[in-house]
Subunit: 173 residues, 2 copies
């Protein structure tokens, strides 16, 4: 039987989590004051039938009020060619929609950056409060794949404040 260390403090918890890599997404919605976008590493597909994705949004994110009030969002699943968008939507205090050539609107009103690897418009189906964040479950309705899983751009991964690209160079076997 293992002896157990004491309670985790915030720094230890952050150190545990900082070492955990994640795929990178940008989530957009139409808010009462205009479009909002934020970068998330928490997106996971949890069900195929029905097609459900989850993500979390921190109460500290400027996009949070609009995301939590939205009935629908667009989840953009990024690859390494999309790293500039990932950085933009993770930067505080900038207008994430300043480049009007980079985004458009769906007929249903949501802002979309149509050039990313893949995106899906999704209906919000439930919320779960989780400490300083809210977990949002969404039902994917429509979408587009611009670059398949084998595309040379390569998947984008965030780890310990750095950006990585997967490819043959990173394969384990």
């Amino acid at each position: 039987m293992l002896s157990v260390p004491g309670a985790l403090d915030a720094e230890q918890f952050k150190a545990i989590c900082r070492g955990h890599p994640g795929g990178v997404s940008v989530i957009t919605a139409q808010g009462p004051d205009g479009p909002v976008a934020f970068t998330a590493t928490s997106v996971a597909s949890v069900s195929v039938d029905p097609p459900i994705l989850i993500f979390s949004v921190s109460s500290l994110s400027s996009a949070a009020p609009s995301i939590l009030a939205a009935d629908s969002v667009v989840v953009h699943l990024l690859d390494a060619d999309d790293v500039d968008l990932a950085k933009l939507a993770a930067t505080s205090g900038v207008d994430r929609f300043a480049d009007t050539s980079a985004w458009t609107r769906l007929p249903t009103g949501e802002p979309v950056f149509p050039g990313v690897r893949a995106w899906t418009r999704a209906k919000v189906v439930s919320h779960l409060e989780a400490g300083g964040s809210t977990v949002v479950a969404v039902h994917a309705l429509q979408g587009q794949i611009n670059r398949g899983a084998e595309h040379e751009a390569g998947p984008l991964v965030y780890h310990n404040r750095t950006w990585h690209k997967l490819g043959a160079h990173s394969r384990l076997d």
Copy 2:
């Protein structure tokens, strides 16, 4: 304004998600019939204060009944040195606890594979039904970091049915 494609079918949704990489974790719990373990790519830290992680478990997983009945779990956050454990806990029909030298029990009863990059014992705080899966939010109580974020083993990432290792070779900038 973008013209929108039709409704996503299951194959399109799977193709969108298969292209999305994820960090790799193994989650364990003590069930009524013994210890259970499964591999997840859905783990995300969503709050630091309180320290909350989320993960999802598919109703198709043999571990699901025990995980959903558990009051506490151990979340193991893996690196590339842990890929054999990730594969073991992702393989159907094998005894994931056959190698008794690889795991032990905490004084509180949960099975733990203590050699992984980092692990945390966590109390289950809420469940959210999400299609064919359940999202579980857990409060991290205790834990251990055996290898820091800069360790040469490198983070482990799963993408499109392949295992990858991050490092200087995969950095974008």
